[in-house]
Symmetry: C2
């Protein structure tokens, strides 16, 4: 893995990063940038002394105009929502001109975390597997950034609505696509809840006291 | 990770497994069960002394009848091909009765390998990243099974053709869906070639002599 393997993580520098990423969660919450469905999981994982969370997603529906649905150039994501969509929302975008192809994408939750040891990474992977996040794995290891874990389900749909100006899915069928997409998004949110529950069941005896104290200050301690 | 971390791999038992899995590749080839596009990669990876390959896929198109496209109960995969499909193939399946929903799924390559050390796993992950397999990671570690690595791209499409008996994509539009699906499958096969090339460029100086000898016997040594 990058940075050479078996190099132990520098706990002091790692701990500074944990606080930085933790504070960012609350800044993002304040400016409305946080995917709020994630909050219970972010709190639960950060309570673990040897884990902090990185950019994550609770599950979402996006509309992308591109020749390849996996291409992400920022500008081609024309719609994004972490909650069910309405028929009108899809219709509004579908009626706009389309350059390449219009894809409706339902994505399951994707969680990134850094751990301070391989042992803790293994513990997260076990929790993830029990919650049905079967594509979870260790992505890389760094002395300072820690052991990077990705937790991922197989929940996904990538439906072609238009190819250029041709409706591959006629306007008359869009309401059925919306219904199915919202149903699959419901599965995504359920998977996230299972992950929170599994993490809670495997909560370590010793919690990260800085996080506990900070939650008390923020008056968020009741949700623990 | 499962089985306790940092437990060194039992090289003797691991080596026996490598030979078993290696022999299975050639049995599968003989009975027509092997995904043949994989062969150059399987040879390249098994030439590495500390790596062997597990069940993998070179990229494929499947048709699945299920309420959730990720559900796999064997019986609901109604069509599977590791090569481009024809309009007639899709039409034939689409005209059959559909119980839940008919999904056309294009999947990029997915490669599983076992390594005898974390260092070697890290080397595979670097090769995978360079080839654009950006969802690659270490899934688990076992004393005997080794360090399990998954190499995965973001290449995917999961298009709803029918919902029950309703054509969400009308028959008149199916040829466009076939054209796009085959184009995306082409991307999958290109990604696989990039992975073979990156693995070849990072081939270790010392090869697995059992594999080298076996390839000579099988008169496959020329493709190295």
């Amino acid at each position: 893995m990058t940075g050479g393997l078996l190099v132990p993580v520098d706990l002091e520098k790692w701990g500074i990063r944990k606080r930085t990423f933790w504070n960012r969660i609350w800044e993002d919450l304040e400016i409305g940038y946080l995917d709020r469905d994630l909050l219970p999981l972010l709190i639960e994982l950060n309570l673990r002394p040897y884990t902090y969370t990185l950019s994550s997603c609770s599950g979402r529906i996006t509309l992308v105009d591109s020749s390849r649905p996996w291409a992400r150039r920022g500008t081609n994501v024309v719609f994004k929502k972490h909650a069910p969509i309405t028929h009108e929302e899809l219709l509004r975008v579908a009626k706009e001109p389309c350059t390449e192809a219009l894809w409706l994408i339902v994505s399951g939750p994707i969680i990134h975390a850094s751990t301070a040891s391989l042992r803790e990474a293994g513990e997260l992977l076990r929790i993830a597997r029990r919650a049905g996040f079967k594509h979870s794995g260790v992505l890389s290891m760094h002395k300072v950034k820690g052991v990077i874990v990705e937790m991922l389900t197989g929940i996904k749909a990538i439906h072609m609505v238009k190819k250029g100006e041709d409706f591959i899915t006629p306007v008359s069928e869009l309401s059925k696509v919306v219904a199915v997409a919202n149903e699959l998004l419901g599965d995504a949110k359920e998977a996230l809840k299972r992950l929170v529950n599994e993490a809670r069941r495997s909560r370590p005896e010793r919690l990260d006291l800085f996080i506990v104290e900070d939650l008390r200050k923020k008056q968020y301690y009741h949700i623990i």
